[in-house]
């Protein structure tokens, strides 16, 4: 009889599962607090104060900390989540039940799966070796992210279709068209980045996210080397995460609530959390690709020591950058008005796509010239 699983493997699998739960917990917490951040930042930008009432009974009485936490609304995500959980489940009579229930799950799973390849720091071992902190540091990391996040559109499309209502349906159709359109520009904008990092002669090859991040250590951030790629990627990221100015799928003013018009209580909550999880992951990936990941500032070597303190500081620095980007997402949302649908399509197909192609060709030429010069100097 063959052994079911080697002894060491059991341990490894359990460890991976544990890490996966930690990661999901961290991202979901960040997603929850992004909702709070959205409410707070929008309030501040509009001269309001935002949620400042929710408080846990015993925290209230902590002298200075308690009121501060209450004023910042730190317990609001908890209350919001509980509200979604305890609300009455209303299922309209005209929906396709099976897909109606399936759609929120399909929306959430890709949002949580992309984080498996997300590197978020480095671990310095005692013997001087360095390993990347990630659930799975795949060689094809960025492609994995694209592949899995492209599955997210099914959730929205199915939600729109199964709701059997015209507003939901229009939202679903819009979102699938939008996501397909911007995926092209997004992919094309990243090609020059990988061409640059994996140029002939460099030590890197492949599409690994951690290699991209490490290539920016002590040198220029890719955001400085390839501003156009970064810009196109950022715009496409806004479109892919369905954030304003690209929130076609739900545009409240013309589609009631878009694809989730017919959804309520926890099913709506899942859509909501999935959207913010997308934002968190998207911000983290932009940080890895263009903002140097967990490395300090451009042209400066990491100032932290190569031990566990350094690891922690690196992860913290990575988180700080990611949080800034999440703030940027929110900031843009409360600044720009929504595009019209034809404008979105026009921008995607006849502006961003050609721009990304030109960008690719230019960097192709630059990389070739550099490569030829290097070959001539050999």
């Amino acid at each position: 009889m063959m052994e079911w699983m080697p002894q060491g493997l059991w341990f490894e699998v359990c460890l991976k599962v544990f890490f996966a739960f930690m990661m999901v917990g961290a991202v979901m917490t960040m997603a929850g607090y992004s909702v709070l951040a959205e409410r707070k930042v929008s309030a501040w930008m509009q001269g309001r104060v935002g949620p400042n009432r929710t408080v846990l009974p015993f925290v209230e009485y902590i002298p200075i900390l308690g009121p501060i936490l209450q004023k910042l609304g730190m317990f609001q995500p908890l209350a919001d989540g509980l509200k979604f959980l305890f609300k009455e489940e209303i299922v309209p009579g005209h929906v396709n039940k099976f897909y109606y229930y399936l759609a929120p799950l399909i929306a959430l799973v890709p949002a949580l799966t992309t984080m498996t390849v997300l590197p978020f720091g480095q671990l310095y071992w005692d013997d001087g070796t360095v390993s990347t902190l990630a659930l799975a540091d795949l060689e094809v990391g960025i492609l994995f992210v694209f592949a899995v996040s492209s599955l997210g559109v099914y959730g929205i499309a199915l939600a729109g279709w199964s709701s059997n209502s015209k507003y939901s349906f229009l939202g679903g159709i819009r979102s699938s068209a939008q996501m397909i359109s911007y995926e092209l520009a997004m992919g094309l904008s990243l090609l020059p980045v990988f061409l640059w990092v994996c140029a002939p002669g460099s030590s890197e090859s492949g599409l690994s996210l951690s290699a991209i991040a490490n290539s920016q250590s002590g040198g220029a951030w890719l955001f400085l080397v390839q501003p156009l790629s970064a810009l196109i990627f950022l715009i496409a990221l806004f479109a892919e995460t369905n954030r304003l100015p690209f929130d076609m799928p739900e545009s409240e003013t013309d589609l009631v609530g878009g694809f989730h018009t017919e959804y309520g209580s926890f099913k709506f909550g899942i859509f909501f959390v999935a959207e913010y999880a997308h934002i968190v992951i998207g911000s983290a990936i932009f940080t890895v690709l263009f903002l140097g990941g967990w490395h300090f500032l451009p042209f400066i070597e990491d100032p932290w020591p190569a031990n566990w303190i350094g690891s922690l500081l690196g992860v913290g620095w990575f988180l700080a950058k990611t949080i800034f980007l999440i703030f940027f997402f929110i900031w843009v949302r409360w600044t720009l008005p929504r595009f019209r649908y034809d404008q979105v399509m026009n921008l995607g197909w006849s502006k961003l796509l050609p721009l990304a192609l030109v960008n690719l060709i230019v960097y192709l030429l630059i990389v070739t010239v550099i490569d030829q010069n290097a070959a001539a100097n050999l």
Partner: protein, 181 residues
């Protein structure tokens, strides 16, 4: 007819056509807004300043001597468009000597706040200046019965207003001087 001048719109420059500088300006504006003082009123703790002529919940008031002003004439009941007011007339209690000049007093005075439309006709029509729409704006209750303000509640809400006329004082003065009307 005025001559219409059609102005040529200046063609947008390249930077204007990318919209990026405009977006940056917008972002700057919203960012600076984040640090401006907030206009939010922390409502139950802080109350808004109510203007002088505000029409709040209708209330009954007493005159500066603490006497009931309403004489139960029922004009307000008749004028009330949604028929929110209901008065049961009664006589003035015998033991109130200082009000013996008044013929009637309301035995019960009810204003149904679920019907009231805050039009202020009752205040306008009242000959005794007994009913006023004052600055109270927040009335709530758990049942329909709770939302019917009875006489006691109306006086509690109304309190005493400084009276400009002292009509009954003047009348009484005139009467004691032997100069009725």
């Amino acid at each position: 007819m005025a001559k219409t001048v059609v102005l040529e719109r200046k063609p947008l420059s390249f930077s204007e056509r990318t919209y990026l500088p405009q977006i940056a300006t917008g972002l700057k504006t919203t960012f600076s807004n984040m640090f401006k003082p907030k206009v939010t009123l922390q409502y139950p703790e802080e109350k808004p300043v109510i203007p002088k002529n505000y029409r709040g919940v209708p209330t009954l008031v007493k005159d500066p001597n603490g006497r009931e002003k309403c004489v139960s004439c029922q004009l307000c009941e008749f004028v009330c468009p949604p028929k929110a007011i209901r008065i049961t007339p009664g006589s003035v209690p015998e033991d109130q000597d200082d009000r013996e000049h008044v013929e009637k007093a309301p035995q019960e005075f009810e204003i149904n706040m679920l019907r009231c439309i805050y039009c202020g006709y009752c205040q306008e029509v009242c000959p005794e200046e007994a009913i006023f729409l004052q600055d109270e704006y927040s009335s709530s209750g758990f049942t329909r019965e709770e939302m019917i303000n009875n006489k006691e509640k109306l006086y509690e809400l109304g309190g005493t207003l400084p009276d400009r006329h002292y009509k009954w004082d003047k009348k009484k003065e005139a009467e004691t001087d032997g100069n009725t009307h």
